[in-house]
């Protein structure tokens, strides 16, 4: 299926050879199509409910490059409103977060309530002769807003499937890895910074356990990260419909016990995994989830990181720029010392000054630059690790997974889904024409 711009998206990812065409990392027309066919269509993560507990609390986020306000109306219902006045288009909310009783445009004073209804138009009587149909000029609202275990998502497409169906087993398990910690709430402070890379390279990296020993060699050598108990030869990758995936090492009970012993004998950052052994956590995660230390991605761009204590968004800012956001989210009832340690790990590991992440950006930046090369772009990127050796098995729950060593199955699955999203004209087509994980990949 060719898109309006004549591109056969499915040809850009070669599943037989495990290669990805570099055009998808810089071409303007492909990027524009992504904003429409992926971000304006997908369920996008907005915030956690703990960030906006009361009516009028708001948190600004993005759907693609469109600014949206996530808030609660007077009845406490979640609302997601497009942050642009219907008169001249100015933003009606300029703070990143806060509390409001209404949203007034600072240009001419059109004012909207917490449900987005236009409730104030200066000169309504004298200038508009009371003929302006205010009920038709409210803020554009998300087509659907839903919350799963406190995680608020919104889609701009009224034909999108319900959130639960969209997430599927894999997406729900990813979010449960956070929720299973207990009564979780976002810690104050979202780290935000920009990298000069295509957003997909930042997403692809979250599944990448191959780069750690090289990209982050200096942090290992400096003694910041200890050698973990897991092994590169025993990984599990879960694949879900619409591009969700979880990739990373298996964490056995013995390894969890080993981590607990290390924790009690060192002052290294929080690496506690004992939360997985609580009965409530096991009930939420199931046997597969309890053993998965892998990184989930909710397609397109929400990474559940740090064993369910952090979330990261990779927000597109043009084909060559990505805004990285880090949320830290912890059990409110955590013992104070453990909580302090977990926040320290978050502050020291990821984000722009993170001992790990400060070395990532340049790699992705250079990958993005090189893709522009007139010659370089002729040569696809290689995602063939373990290709042809991944046998998909199904849990009784239906969850599809591969037992493997370190692999690039999750990355290739993400790009495969990307082609399907890009080729589909609408949600109905995508529903009919998307991959179901099966067989050998």
């Amino acid at each position: 299926m060719h898109a309006p711009n004549g591109i056969d998206y499915r040809s850009l990812v070669d599943l037989e050879h495990g290669t990805v065409d570099r055009r998808i990392f810089f071409a303007d027309d492909i990027y524009e199509t992504e904003l429409g066919r992926i971000f304006a269509r997908a369920w996008n993560f907005m915030c956690h409910e703990s960030q906006i507990p009361n009516p009028g609390d708001f948190f600004l986020n993005f759907i693609g490059e469109d600014s949206v306000i996530a808030t609660r109306d007077r009845d406490g219902n979640l609302q997601v409103l497009l942050n642009t006045c219907r008169h001249r288009g100015n933003a009606v909310c300029r703070a990143e977060l806060g509390h409001a009783t209404s949203f007034m445009c600072t240009y001419h004073g059109w004012t909207y309530d917490l449900e987005g209804k236009l409730i104030g138009v200066p000169g309504y009587k004298n200038f508009y002769h009371e003929e302006l149909k205010r009920e038709e000029w409210g803020l554009v609202k998300a087509a659907k807003v839903e919350s799963y275990k406190g995680f608020v998502f919104a889609t701009m497409d009224p034909t999108a499937p319900p959130l639960d169906e969209y997430l599927g087993e894999v997406g729900r398990l990813g979010l449960s890895m956070v929720a299973a910690h207990g009564d979780v709430a976002v810690v104050d402070g979202i780290q935000k910074y920009r990298i000069g890379c295509n957003w997909k390279l930042a997403v692809d990296n979250l599944f990448d356990w191959y780069h750690v020993q090289v990209s982050h060699a200096s942090s290992l050598a400096a003694g910041y990260i200890r050698r973990p108990p897991w092994t590169s030869m025993d990984h599990i990758v879960a694949l879900g419909e619409y591009g969700h995936a979880i990739g990373g090492p298996r964490l056995t009970r013995e390894m969890r016990e080993e981590l607990a012993r290390q924790q009690s004998t060192t002052d290294s950052p929080y690496m506690d995994e004992s939360w997985r052994d609580r009965p409530e956590a096991q009930a939420q995660l199931g046997a597969f989830g309890v053993e998965s230390r892998g990184h989930p991605n909710i397609f397109p761009n929400l990474w559940i990181a740090s064993s369910g204590t952090q979330l990261s968004l990779r927000l597109p800012r043009g084909p060559g720029s990505t805004e990285i956001w880090w949320f830290t989210i912890l059990d409110r009832d955590m013992p104070p010392e453990l909580r302090k340690s977990a926040i320290m790990r978050a502050n020291h590991t990821f984000g722009p000054a993170g001992m790990l992440e400060q070395d990532d950006g340049e790699n992705w930046d250079q990958s993005t630059r090189a893709a522009r090369g007139m010659v370089g772009r002729r040569y696809p990127l290689n995602f063939s690790m373990n290709l042809g050796h991944g046998t998909i098995r199904h849990e009784p729950s239906g969850l599809a997974h591969i037992d493997t060593n370190i692999s690039e199955h999750a990355q290739l699955w993400t790009y495969r889904a990307w082609t399907e999203w890009m080729a589909a004209e609408d949600w109905d087509t995508l529903r009919r024409n998307h991959s179901i994980p099966n067989g050998t990949v």
């Binding site: 703070a95 990209s215 502050n347 340049e362």
Partner: protein, 188 residues
């Protein structure tokens, strides 16, 4: 209209119980200390830089947010919440060790930095030291064409150390909310 009193907008002169010669001498010593610190960073003499901190230092850069004026008291995250730097001396030493491994890729090839320190104000004097604020402009270029610039201010607690000082506490406040550089692989 009554003539405005120009001195009314100024805070009480710090260390006003001290004579001018003492204050000028102290100002000179603190500024020289900061220039030496900046030179150590710009010359990548990280061990020398680390030696300028007390063992119990807290080196901290909070997250800053765009807030409305009535919520500006919550512009920065509080200590204990999320921060960009939240370091003990041991953590700073780990960062320095990382930079010295020879494969700390964000700084290899090394960036070129220049730390400009200005507006140094000694606000208060304690038994063993001083509260000092200063402005900084950290300029960085990297590889062939990358350029980053950070402007902000620092709030330090300096402790007397022989004829010079040690930094016992440093708070760093950037004039950015979304950080526009790809990383913070350098110090402030």
């Amino acid at each position: 209209m009554a003539e405005a009193d120009a001195t009314a907008i100024l805070p009480a002169m710090p260390l006003s119980n001290r004579d001018l010669a003492y204050r000028m001498q102290l100002q000179f010593l603190v500024e020289q200390f900061y220039y030496a610190e900046a030179a150590a960073l710009d010359q990548r003499r990280y061990d020398d830089w680390l030696a300028l901190f007390t063992d119990d230092v807290h080196y901290w850069m909070p997250v800053r947010r765009t807030r409305t004026s009535n919520e500006l008291d919550q512009e920065f995250t509080a200590p204990g919440a999320v921060a960009y730097f939240d370091d003990t001396k041991a953590m700073l030493a780990t960062r320095v060790r990382k930079l010295q491994t020879g494969y700390s890729w964000a700084e290899d090839p090394p960036s070129r930095t220049r730390h400009l320190i200005t507006n140094v104000q000694i606000l208060d004097e304690h038994d063993d030291g001083f509260d000092v604020i200063s402005n900084f402009h950290v300029y960085r270029t990297r590889l062939n064409s990358e350029e980053d610039s950070w402007i902000g201010h620092r709030e330090d607690v300096l402790r007397r150390h022989g004829a010079s000082f040690l930094i016992a506490n440093r708070k760093i406040f950037l004039e950015q909310t979304v950080l526009l550089a790809r990383n913070l692989s350098n110090f402030f």
